[in-house]
Amino acid sequence: MEVGLFVPCYIDQFYPTVARATLKLLRRLGCTVHVPLNQACCGQPAANAGMAIASTAAERTFYKAFADMEIIVAPSASCVCHVRDHYSKANDMAARTMELCEFLVDVLRVNHLDAHYPYRVGLHEGCHGLRGLRLGASTELHVPAFNKVRQLLSMVGDLQLVTLERADECCGFGGTFAVSEAALSVKMGRDRLRDHQNSGAQVITSTDMSCLMHLWGLANRHGLPLEVRHVAEILNSTKP
């Protein structure tokens, strides 16, 4: 299957290993991956700051870069959520853009992975993945339980998923919120870290590196023994 890979700006700039893991994983699963070099940011930061008008260049760029791709995959639920919810309905970018886990489960119908990750892992449910893209059932809703990210993580050898006290509480990143409401953002992040620590997690994973960037920034500042890994890195991990 041919797919276009959209690499969110902060992953491109600060976490290239996450993008490489995504690329390798998609290739291992038999996809032909196109990476347009004329891509840029999805435009979410300006739009969430209340200026969707300042993100029109980003939307145009996205459309130009991915116009002839049938499916666009991105290792970020938050960016995909922005494309799906806020891009012009005039083109069908929204319907064609998918978050990585969603693509693996719904399109590739992956039911086996040659992945191996012998650690206790805490899943941080990124809010935009959970409640925006409905990658799983949130704890507020009374619908049959499902979770595409958990489903994939359960295929990883020797990975032990820990049980958190609050399964899907926000980490407090929230884009510009992390700076405009810094004190609150930090408090929320520290509360999440405490939950992961108390649950015995060694590694926190998520569909969104932005949440993990915030959580890692706090954990590292406080010298906490917690690592963060994007879900693509775990799904792409192999036995040494």
């Binding site: 980003a58 409401e181 609150l184």
Partner: protein
């Protein structure tokens, strides 16, 4: 629609500042967070046992859609039905008219003591100070409301007005005001003291004012939901009953209550139903009953296509209890009568500039929307209010220009790559004390990720 908290200076609510002061006391923040999380968990448990929960939410949302689309018709039908039952129905354009109407009723009866049961609308209208200036003694009879009234503060939550006050602090307040023992903090004894104190107030009141949870257009009846029976005690003793209601409280038919009553208490406190669900249809013999229908900005809000849904709100407070921001910043940080997510989408409609920060006091995590019993898409409305705030001048020109610049750089491939390369280069080369200088708000409390030499796209270009 606001009662500014004493700590918050006008004209613009500084949510971030108030939140920073709140979280500075970490132990208290954790206590506040846990108290509300406990209510959220009770809500989860009591709603999970209703197999058709999600269908009920959908139904409630649709009933409200329908009713709001014909609000004028149903209000007039309600007026006709209620009048036929012998209830005096009044219309108030705004808070001032509402307060004048209530005062004129009290004045006509030479009432000097008014007992009130829970009513966020009278908070919105600032009724208490209005009446007190005119010599009327107003007593809030809901325990939580009485506590904040004694403290001289507004409620910090629409269902749990004193959720931010610790029992020891209530003990002190009661010691000063009700004469309980100096170190009393036993909830049972404090509640008993409040009961005894309030009994006297109920007996001397010449009028009782209640809020309205639901009003039925076809019958002209109103429904008041309480847990303490204080609304009933007040109404049944006093010769005059005044009910103040926002015009959005209307439901077409009594059977619609079967949907809403099942949702309300479960969403609010995790009870299957409130202890008292009182239906008032007409004054008892010898009593006078008044209903004041209050607009106060609601019809204007109804005309805002994108924001209309906020009027579906049944004031259960579920979005407030689940909000990770509210739980850690407290009700007063919002500086509005209705705090939390629902307040943040209602109050900008009242005063866009003053409440311009509230749509940003959220991570857009979406929990509020998923918990809402009438399915208001609160996160979507928060996002839209952000656009409106920025469009209509609720910000500085500098901020607008900065976002425009960043948005345009980030959205253009060549500029974006150049900016990325430059920032990474600077982060690697500059000394730590400059990278982590005061202006770096992120860096004050969080480490920045390492800046790699090569971006993914640069690597891919070379590799392919």
């Amino acid at each position: 629609m606001s009662l500014p908290s004493p700590e918050i200076p006008l004209p613009v609510v500084d949510h971030a500042g108030a939140a920073a002061r709140f979280v500075a006391d970490e132990a208290r923040t954790d206590w506040h967070d846990e108290a509300l999380w406990h209510v959220r968990q009770k809500r989860d448990a009591s709603s999970a046992v209703v197999p058709e929960w999600e269908e009920l939410r959908e139904l409630a949302s649709k009933i409200k859609d329908h009713t709001l689309s014909r609000l004028d018709t149903y209000l007039i039908q309600f007026e006709t039905s209620a009048s036929a039952n012998g209830i005096h129905v009044h219309w108030a354009r705004d808070a001032e008219e509402h307060n004048q109407l209530v005062y004129s009723i009290l004045d006509r009866h030479q009432a000097r003591h008014l007992v009130k049961s829970k009513s966020m609308l009278t908070e919105e209208c600032h009724l208490n100070p209005y009446l007190e200036e005119r010599g009327i003694k107003v007593i809030d009879t809901d325990l939580g409301e009485r506590i904040v009234q004694l403290a001289g503060k507004p409620p910090s939550h629409i269902v749990l007005p004193a959720i931010h006050v610790k029992k020891e602090e209530i003990g002190q307040l009661f010691h000063q005001n009700l004469g309980t023992a100096a170190d009393e903090s036993d909830p049972q004894r404090l509640t008993e003291a409040a009961r005894q104190h309030l009994r006297g107030k109920f007996l001397e009141a010449e009028a009782a004012l209640t809020g309205v949870n639901f009003a039925i257009a076809s019958t002209g009846g109103i429904v008041v939901c309480t847990n303490e029976g204080n609304a009933d005690l007040g109404v049944h003793l006093a010769p005059v009953h005044i009910a103040s209601m926002g015009i959005e409280k209307i439901l077409p038919e009594p059977h619609h209550l079967a949907v809403f009553l099942r949702l309300l208490a479960r969403s609010a406190t995790g009870q299957s139903i409130t202890v008292y669900t009182s239906h008032f249809h007409r004054p008892r013999s010898g009593q006078e009953m008044h209903i004041v229908l209050v607009d106060n900005g609601r019809s204007k809000h109804l005309g805002r296509k994108h924001f209309r849904d906020a009027l579906k709100c049944i004031r259960c407070g579920a979005c407030i209890n689940t909000c990770p921001v509210y739980r850690r910043s407290g009700g007063y940080s919002y500086g509005s009568t209705i705090p939390g997510p629902i307040g943040s989408i209602l109050t900008p409609g009242v005063d866009l500039k003053k409440y311009s920060t509230l749509p940003f006091a959220s991570t857009l995590c979406g929990s509020c929307g998923d918990v809402c019993p009438v399915k208001i898409d609160i996160p979507k409305q928060l996002y839209r209010w952000r656009q409106t705030v920025m469009d209509e001048g609720g910000t500085t020109l500098t901020k607008r220009l900065a976002i425009t610049l960043i948005g345009n750089v980030m959205g253009r491939p060549r500029l974006y790559r150049l900016a990325g390369r430059t920032i990474r280069w600077l982060l690697r080369r500059l000394p730590q004390r400059i990278v982590y200088a005061r202006g770096n708000i992120w860096g004050r409390t969080r480490d920045l990720p390492d800046a790699p030499r090569e971006s993914f796209l640069d690597w891919f270009k070379k590799a392919s």
